[in-house]
Amino acid sequence: MTRTWFFFGAALVFLSVVLAIVPARGNHEDPPSVPDETNRTIRVRGRVAYLGNDPHSFLAINLFEPLDGNGTFRLYGPLVDVLARNQQQDTVTLLIKITRESPGPGFPPEAEVLEIVSPDE
C-alpha cells in the first residue's frame, strides 16, 4: 500500500511537472535575461548563413541550441571569409569568443571565430 501511494505521489509530481513545462514553451512574456558574457569562449554548433538585408547583412551562426536566449551570433574575424566562401548553409562547430552582447531587439550578439572545429578546414 505504501509503495502504491509512493507511485501515486510520484505520478502526480511527474504530471504536474509535465503540465508546467508544456505551456511554458509558448510563453514569450518574459524576455530572457542576457548576462554579460563578453570575452567568454565557447564551442557552439549551428548553421552558417548570411542574415538580414544588404548591405547590412552579416555572416552569422544560427545555433541549434540557443545560448542564454540568443539564437544567433554575428561572426567576426579572419575566419569569417573562409566560412562565407565555403560554408554558407552548412552545419559547423565553431570555437567563438563572445565580443559583444546584443545591443537590442533585431541585433544579435557578436563573436569572433577562433576556430572552425568542424568541418575541418
Binding site: P31, G46, G52, N53, P55, F64, G69, E101, S102
Partner: protein, 584 residues
C-alpha cells in the same frame, strides 16, 4: 487504486504524447509532410505543346527518348541538389570536355549579333551596399545596451516629430554617427494618416539639375491620399505594416511611428539604395540612429535623365521608384519577422529570402506604376549565373560587382518563378512566418529559416504539402527553360499568352509580366559577344563546375528523330531532366 494509477499513467503518457507533438510542431519536425495526403508533393505533371518531358534520371542511366518522325531537339537540364559543387560535364560522357571562362563564347549554342538587340536600357543597380564598406563595424556599446529598463532616449522621439517642406536636420549615414549629411525636406505627401518626407542632402541639392517637382513626384509615387494607388498601399497589402506594436518601448522607436522618411544623397559606387535597421533603434544604442522609419536612395541615379529633360519615367528615376518598393519591403520585413514575430531570440532572416522578397516587391508594383519591372535588367544576368551560384547564398564580402549583380539576378529569377507559380499571396505568407530556429537533421545537414519559411508559406497558400526546396529549384530551371511556350502549365509556367500572370491579395490584383527567358539577353560586348536566352551548352564545349542548387542546360541532340539513346553517368546528387522540343 490500480485503476486510478492506470488512469494517471495513461493521462501522463497522453500528455507526454501531446507535448511531443507540440515540440514537433514547434521544431517543424512533424511527420505530416512525409505521410502527405497520399501524393508526393515533389511530383508534378509537365504539360506543354512545344516541349515534351522525356524522363528524369539519376546515377548511371541510359537516357531513352522516342522522338518520333518529326525532328526534335533533346535538352538536358542538370540540377545539382547534392549539397556541393560538382563537375557535371566531366562526369557525363567522355565527349564532354571542360571549359574555362575564356572558352565561354564557344560554349554557347546560340549566337546573336549584339546589333540585333536594343541598347542596354539601364545597368541594373544594386540595392544596398553603401560605398566603401564591406563590413559594418559597430560602435562601442553604451552602458544601457542590453536592457530595456534603462537608457531611455535623452531626446523626444524624432520618429514622432512633424516636419514641413524646408525643415532641416542632420541625418546620419553610419552606425556611430560620425558620418552625416545636413538635409532639408524638399517634398512631402500624405495619405491622411501618415506622411512621407523626402529629405535631400543640402550639398547635392540643386547640383544635379533637379527641381522640387522631381521630389514631389517621388513622394507622390510612394504615398498619396486614397486607397490602392501608391507604393505604400501595394507593398503593405502584400507584406504588412512597416511598424507597430512591440515590447521594447525604450530601445525601439515608438509603436505609433508611422511616417516614412526617405533621404536622397550621393551613395556613390553605383548603389541605388538601402534600408538600415539602425534607424529603428534609440540613438542611445546607436549614435547614428535617425530614430525613424527611414531608407536611403541614391540622388545621382534619381537625377539621371534619358534625354534633354528629366522625367520620372526616365530609366534612372524609374529604377529609383522601383527601389522604393525594394527598400520598403526590407523595412517591413525587419518589423514583421525580426521584431514582431521574434522578440526574444534575436534571430534574423536569411539574406537570400529577404532580398528575393524585395525583388518580388519591385515586380509586383511595376505594372501598377507603368514602369519596367526587374525582369528587364535582371534576367540577362540570371542567364549566366544559373549554373555558377547558389541562390540560397549571399555573395561573400569583397565580391566584384558582376558577382553581386548576378546574385541579385538569381534572387529575382527564383522569386519571379515562385510569384508566378503561387501568386502574390505566397509572399504575404512568407512575411507572416516566424523565423524558425535551425534544427540539425540526422545526416548533419540543417534547413535554413528561408527554406522553412518558403515551404510553410507554400503550404499555407496551397493547403498541401510543399515540394522540397531542391525540387522547387529544379522546377524553376525547367520553367525558365520552357518559358518560350505559353502553353506550359503550372508549376512550369511563367509565360501566359495574354502577357500577364495575375493574382490577388487582400482584394488587390497584382499583374506580373509574363517571362520568356528566350527573349532576354546578356550583353557581353566587353568580352566580344552577346547572348540571348538560356545559356545552352553543347557537346565538346561542356560545362565547368555546377554550383550546388545550380542548374545548367545542355543541347544533347539537334534535329533528332526516332529513338534517342545515350549512356550517362550523373554525379551523385544531380538530377537530369530530359526535355525534347520541336526543332525550329
Amino acid at each position: 487504486m490500480r485503476a486510478l494509477l492506470r488512469l494517471l499513467t495513461i493521462t501522463a503518457v497522453a500528455v507526454l504524447f501531446v507535448s511531443c507533438e507540440m515540440v514537433q510542431d514547434l521544431l517543424g519536425t512533424s511527420s505530416d509532410d512525409a505521410s502527405g495526403g497520399g501524393s508526393d508533393p515533389n511530383d508534378a505533371t509537365f504539360s506543354s505543346s512545344l516541349y515534351r518531358l522525356e524522363g528524369v534520371y539519376e546515377g548511371v542511366s541510359t537516357v531513352t527518348a522516342d522522338l518520333g518522325a518529326s525532328p526534335r531537339d533533346v535538352y538536358y537540364v542538370f540540377s545539382n541538389l547534392s549539397g556541393s559543387r560538382v563537375n557535371v560535364g566531366d562526369a557525363i560522357t567522355e565527349s564532354y570536355v571542360l571549359w574555362g571562362p575564356n572558352d565561354r563564347v564557344q560554349a554557347i549554342g546560340q549566337h546573336f549579333s549584339p546589333s540585333a538587340f536594343p541598347e542596354s536600357r539601364y545597368t541594373p543597380a544594386i540595392r544596398g551596399l553603401p560605398p566603401g564598406r564591406s563590413q559594418v563595424v559597430p560602435q562601442t556599446v553604451r552602458e544601457s545596451v542590453g536592457s530595456d529598463a534603462v537608457g531611455a532616449s535623452s531626446v523626444a522621439w524624432r520618429a514622432l516629430s512633424s516636419y514641413s517642406v524646408g525643415s532641416t536636420e542632420r541625418l546620419y549615414t553610419n552606425l556611430d554617427g560620425s558620418k552625416f549629411v545636413e538635409a532639408t525636406v524638399r517634398a512631402l505627401s500624405s495619405d491622411g494618416t501618415r506622411e512621407v518626407y523626402i529629405w535631400v542632402d543640402d550639398v547635392i541639392y540643386n547640383s544635379e539639375g533637379l527641381i522640387d517637382a522631381a521630389y514631389e513626384a517621388l513622394a507622390d509615387r510612394f504615398l498619396k491620399s486614397g486607397n490602392d494607388n501608391d507604393i505604400y498601399d501595394w507593398v503593405t497589402t502584400i507584406f504588412g505594416a512597416p511598424w507597430g506594436i512591440h515590447d521594447s518601448p525604450v530601445s525601439l522607436i515608438p509603436s505609433e511611428s508611422d511616417d516614412i522618411h526617405i533621404l536622397l544623397y550621393d551613395i556613390e559606387e553605383g548603389y541605388a539604395g538601402y534600408f538600415w535597421s539602425k534607424d529603428n533603434v534609440a540613438s542611445t544604442y546607436y549614435g547614428g540612429s535617425n530614430e525613424r522609419l527611414m531608407f536611403y536612395i541614391d540622388h545621382t541615379f534619381f537625377a539621371a535623365q534619358d534625354g534633354p529633360t528629366w522625367d520620372i519615367s526616365d530609366s534612372g528615376p524609374a529604377d529609383m521608384v522601383s527601389t522604393l518598393a525594394h527598400e520598403f519591403q526590407h523595412m517591413i520585413n525587419f518589423y514583421q519577422r525580426e521584431i514582431l514575430r521574434d522578440p526574444d531570440n534575436y534571430f534574423r532572416v536569411d539574406t537570400w529570402i529577404n532580398e528575393m522578397s524585395s525583388m518580388v516587391a519591385e515586380d509586383l508594383v511595376a505594372d501598377k506604376l507603368a514602369i519596367a519591372g526587374p525582369a528587364d535588367g535582371r534576367l540577362g544576368s540570371y542567364i549566366i549565373g544559373a549554373a555558377e551560384y547558389r541562390v540560397t547564398d549571399r555573395y561573400p564580402d569583397g565580391s566584384n560587382i558582376n558577382v553581386i549583380v548576378t546574385y541579385y539576378a538569381l534572387y529575382y529569377s527564383f522569386g519571379a518563378y515562385l510569384s508566378r507559380t503561387y501568386g502574390s499571396q505566397l509572399f504575404t505568407e512568407i512575411a507572416r512566418q516566424p523565423i524558425a530556429a535551425p534544427a540539425e537533421n540526422i545526416d548533419g545537414s540543417s534547413n535554413g529559416n528561408g527554406e522553412i519559411a518558403l515551404r510553410s508559406a507554400i503550404e499555407a497558400v496551397t493547403g498541401e504539402a510543399a515540394p522540397t526546396l531542391d525540387e522547387l529549384i529544379r522546377r524553376w530551371a525547367i520553367a525558365m527553360f520552357v518559358s518560350d511556350d505559353p502553353t506550359a502549365t503550372v508549376p512550369f509556367s511563367i509565360n501566359e499568352s495574354d502577357g500577364f500572370i495575375s493574382s490577388q491579395t487582400n482584394g488587390t490584383t497584382y499583374n506580373l509580366e509574363s517571362i520568356d527567358l528566350h527573349g532576354y539577353w546578356n550583353d557581353f560586348s566587353a568580352a566580344g559577344f552577346s547572348y540571348r536566352g538560356p545559356l545552352i551548352f553543347v557537346y565538346d564545349q561542356a560545362l565547368v563546375g555546377l554550383s550546388d542548387r545550380g542548374n545548367a542546360f545542355f543541347l544533347a541532340r539537334e534535329r533528332g528523330s526516332n529513338l534517342f539513346q545515350e549512356a550517362v553517368d550523373i554525379p551523385d546528387g544531380v538530377t537530369l531532366t530530359v526535355l525534347s522540343r520541336e526543332s525550329q
